[in-house]
């Protein structure tokens, strides 16, 4: 028996494949309508019976100890059910972290009197209503013994070098000293926050030793494992339900202290407990992007050819934990240089532990190197695009491996052409529109291809429709849609006959929706499972005594548009539903994974879905694999006011094959928009006297509005990369933010002659430069 291959090459989508809603076509988001109607339930909208409400209380000092918490007034307030403090909170067990390490065997205390940052949770009040809990929370009288704090990276010292992040080749210092042209500058990025439109929070409910959590999640399996280990219950006893996620940008992959507190409250009370983290509290309930500083020294020939790069960088981390915002990840792979040295340090300050925010590492890394190469271009009087092409690297020098695909040259060409780069006047301050100085800037970006094994369940149901199931999630990036497309294509059924179920820990496990890996690993798994289901269906149709095809003695059958037929039969065949009914099957089910053939150890599989230890490095194998992009950006600067407006963006991007160009373009544009906010607006401002982030709300922490965003043109220059993934895609979600901020900073320099090396580029920096 053979199975006819799914026809994969047809249609006219950008990657040359796909038709009728299958992979490669511009299908709109399948869950779009329910979201627009407000009919998609988000975690906190769930209403279990007998729900109690928890409100967090955060510290008002950055360092020291809680001396006492007087809760008498709060306890007497109307509706109060429970006040949780460091003294009475159930101690939990320390859970395995995302690196597969258990930091200690001691207890885990989500509330502690040992204070290391402003806004640390110190208590929670649970009441019948949210308002009662809020009111009572304000009545807690907390006294502290305050200790000196380090509010931010400034004045926090040099920190500790992370040896694992060091990279060296050649003689960087010597070559720099001998280089005819040398430039050296410091670049800085501030604390930035994820601020998803759905703030964090959860509903926790216990039934004996089973814990159900309605909580938005980018990584259901890891979060479920964390809760299970905290409470010493079996993994299968934790159910996390997260069918819709209102954005995460890296911030919804972990179970945080507020989750532990809600689950503790639910256990102590024996009631379902809802805990909504307020927007101001989200600024310290988990970390955003760490503040970074980088110094880049470039040595070059007078013709602009790089001779050496010396890179020193640092990021803030918390007092108690380590977060490395790896500022060297782009520095060493973007340009060819015979000599290179990079060191990265972490510097403890009194902050919540920073976390992942769209392209952690690559984002600040690209800001520094892409500004520095621009500065070098002016130093040697060369076009900023030309200097990038002159120093183009044909291989990953650090890993000493060829690229799997690197369409960056094509990105430069396509972007420059669409933007009209050749019409650029080279000198700063030489382009103008009335009172507005005009600047054109370019910068490149990159993001690694991350690979983890996945799995998926595909069911052909009695009515002929298809169900795809995974604990993987959709936070707006399009998982529902592309998995429906994958299954529809593999099974040759109409895409609207496919239902995708996601975001529930009862469904087959999935790795993190992070590192821009989920689309690749899930399409691979669904493709495989759908083919297995198809194979089983055809096998039954050929062999089952009740099948109308059994008598044909054929060796294969054709499935098309939800119908099954003999290959040479000119008739319409029968529907899949009809066939299943005749052979007495209510469904056909295939669970498949993309593990290596011999990887069947359950512990290894569990580790695969609940840690990142099995995530393959982009250089694991024969190639170095990355997505690439080039941004061409026009700004208008009103020099009297210092205001910078982005007036045009053309970006050409190589994400390999696009499974759905419409959704990929949306993600690219979203990343570019976020990058515009990062370049011009976003900054967590700390009051150095007490360590408080004073702009901890969306009125004062500015992200881009519609009015700040011009029309954005994105151009796909990718080609299928089958080294990177089974179906040829590379990463989409994080790539496009990388390089936006330096392209804008470079454009501001071109407009004004002012080189602003610390983000965001606010009006006073332009005025006072």
């Amino acid at each position: 028996m053979t199975v006819i291959e799914t026809r994969a090459k047809r249609g006219d989508a950008s990657d040359g494949t796909g038709a009728g809603g299958t992979l490669g076509t511009r299908l709109s988001r399948v869950e779009g309508i329910v979201k627009i109607k407000g009919a998609a339930p988000y975690a906190l909208e769930h209403r279990p019976a007998n729900l109690a409400h928890a409100v967090l209380v955060q510290t008002t000092i950055a360092a020291g100890r809680v001396r006492a918490i007087d809760s008498a007034a709060a306890a007497a307030a109307p509706g109060v059910l429970l006040i949780i403090t460091p003294d009475n909170a159930l101690p939990l067990k320390t859970a395995t972290n995302w690196l597969g390490v258990k930091p200690s065997e001691g207890p885990y205390r989500p509330l502690t009197g040992d204070i290391t940052f402003y806004g640390q949770h110190v208590a929670a009040v649970v009441a019948e209503t949210f308002e009662q809990a809020t009111e009572a929370a304000a009545l807690l009288n907390i006294t502290y013994d305050e200790a000196p704090a380090i509010p931010s990276l400034d004045g926090a010292g040099e920190g500790t070098v992370v040896d694992a992040l060091s990279a060296d080749w050649g003689d960087a210092a010597g070559a720099l000293a001998a280089a005819p042209v040398r430039i050296e500058h410091e670049y800085r990025t501030p604390r930035e926050y994820n601020v998803p439109i759905e703030p964090h929070g959860l509903i926790a409910q216990w039934e004996s030793d089973t814990l159900t959590l309605w909580e938005p999640s980018q990584w259901i399996d890891f979060m479920a494992r964390t809760y299970a280990e905290w409470f010493e219950i079996p993994f299968d006893n934790v159910r996390i339900i997260s069918p819709y996620v209102g954005g995460g940008f890296g911030s919804k992959g972990f179970a945080y202290p507020h989750g532990a507190i809600a689950a503790i409250a639910a256990k102590m009370l024996g009631r379902a407990v809802k805990l909504a983290v307020t927007r101001p509290q989200t600024f310290t309930a988990f970390g955003g992007r760490a503040e970074t500083r980088q110094t880049i020294a470039l040595g070059a020939t007078r013709e602009g050819k790089l001779l050496s790069i010396v890179h020193r960088s640092a990021n803030e981390t918390s007092i108690k934990d380590v977060w490395a915002e790896r500022c060297g990840t782009v520095t060493g792979i973007m340009y060819a240089t015979p000599n290179f040295s990079s060191r990265h340090s972490i510097v403890p300050v009194n902050t919540v532990t920073p976390g992942a925010l769209r392209a952690p590492g690559e984002n600040p890394s690209a800001f520094a190197i892409e500004c520095a190469i621009d500065e070098l271009a002016y130093e040697v009087d060369m076009d900023p695009l030309q200097i990038r092409l002159l120093n183009y690297t044909e291989k990953d020098q650090h890993a000493n491996k060829p690229w799997s695909t690197r369409q960056l040259r094509e990105a430069y060409a396509a972007g420059a052409e669409a933007f009209g780069w050749s019409k650029r006047s080279p000198k700063p301050r030489s382009m103008r529109d009335g009172r507005q100085l005009i600047g054109w800037g370019v910068a490149a970006g990159t993001y690694p291809v991350r690979r983890t094994a996945g799995q998926a369940l595909v069911r052909i149901l009695a009515d002929g429709t298809v169900e795809v199931a995974s604990a993987g999630i959709d936070m707006g990036q399009g998982t529902y849609t592309i998995l429906a497309q994958t299954a529809a294509g593999a099974l040759d059924v109409p895409v609207d006959h496919v239902t995708v179920k996601l975001g529930d820990s009862r469904l087959p496990s999935a790795p993190v929706a992070g590192g821009s890996q989920l689309a690749n690993l899930m399409t691979a798994a669904v493709h495989k499972a759908a083919h297995a289901a198809r194979e089983e269906l055809i096998g039954l149709a050929l062999n089952d005594p009740n099948s109308p095809f059994q008598a044909l003695q054929a060796n294969t059958l054709v499935i098309a548009n939800g119908r099954i037929a003999a290959p040479r039969d000119s008739g319409p065949g029968i529907s899949i539903a009809d066939l299943l009914r005749r052979i007495g099957r209510d469904q056909i089910e295939a669970l498949r994974d993309t593990f290596a053939e011999n990887a069947t150890n359950p512990d290894d599989r569990f580790r695969n879905f609940t840690t990142i230890t099995t995530m393959r490095a982009p250089t694991d194998g024969d190639y170095s694999m990355h997505s690439w992009c080039a941004h061409f950006i026009e700004v208008k600067v009103d020099e009297d006011f210092g205001t910078v407006r982005v007036s045009r963006v053309v970006s050409a991007l190589d994400s390999g094959r696009l499974y759905n160009p419409k959704l990929a373009e949306s993600q690219w544009k979203g990343g570019i928009i976020m990058g515009i906010g990062q370049a011009l607006l976003e900054e967590g401002v700390v009051d150095r006297r007490n360590g408080r982030v004073v702009n901890n709300n969306l009125g004062d922490y500015l992200i881009a509005t519609n009015a700040d965003i011009p029309d954005i043109q994105v151009i796909s220059v990718g080609i299928p990369d089958h080294h990177a993934s089974a179906l040829g895609g590379k990463g989409v979600g994080e790539l496009s933010i990388v390089g936006v901020a330096p392209a804008i900073a470079n454009a501001v320099y071109h407009a004004t002659g002012k080189r602003i090396r610390d983000l965001p580029i606010t009006l006073e920096k332009v005025l006072q430069h």
Binding site: Y118, T134, F641, L681, R692
Partner: protein, 327 residues
Amino acid sequence: MKNFAYLRAASLAEAQQAAARPATMLLAGGTTLIDLAKCDIAAPETMVDITHLAGLDTIALDEQGVSIGALARMSWVADDPGIRRHFPAISEALWQAASAQLRNMATIGGNLMQRTRCPYFRDPAAFPACNKRRPGSGCAAIGGVTRNHAVLGTSPSCIATYPGDLAVALVAFDAEIDLGTRRVAIDDFFLLPGTTPDREHAMEPGEVITAIHVPASPAARRSTYLKVRDRQSYEFAAASAAVGLELAPDGRTIADIRVALGGVATKPWRARAVEQALKGKALTAESVERAAPTAVEGAVDHGGHRYKIDLAPRVVARAILAVGGLA
């Protein structure tokens, strides 16, 4: 948020009566009141809902000027053809304020009563010291993050910026606030912080804003509102200027000029020194640029907001030149 009694006023008289009682606040659009309640700043015992009171939401225009009912929504006033024609600065100030959603909810009276965005004022748990909230407790802003604080009209007690846009346009054109039983010139309605920053308006208990009257003038008719900020929309002004201009029949001599500043002062700030310097002079780029720096006479620098001292005169100059057809 604390519990409060909700009273739906049957009449203006009942609202006035209720407003005379302590710890009582009026509820109109609610956009700022609810926000302040969430910040634990507004904690009224009684909220008096006046949104439904008849006759308070009209916009009446005649040769003398315009009367804008206190309950007219920001978006209505911004879009009113008469306002746009005779008071363009008012329309422009409104549509550059807040967001579309807020403008559709918020009322004109409530807009005048909005309170400062000073983060130290708005965060009682983190910063107990605030003379505006708790007289005598000190000012946490001084010595803190002052990027958005006032450089004009400050005192050692308070450097909080008046946040609004509309009132800046109103103060330029000598509007009067109608409190039902009396009218107060808008420049007198808003108070300097001095030693009593908790007292922001010249309103007595029991008084309710019923309308705003703006006299018609050639300067108001030829006016603009220029708002400068990092974000194109939904951000308070780094500096703003409301400017009106009347030229003499020669087409170049400045017969009348009105200049007011926003985003830089503790109250809507009439820049009379700029007006005096330009009145009777020829309108030229040079004369305007020479006069504009007087807009920030007396500015006091507390650090992070220093750029406003440079920025405000530039905004004033650009606005004058724009309305004069020279920008």
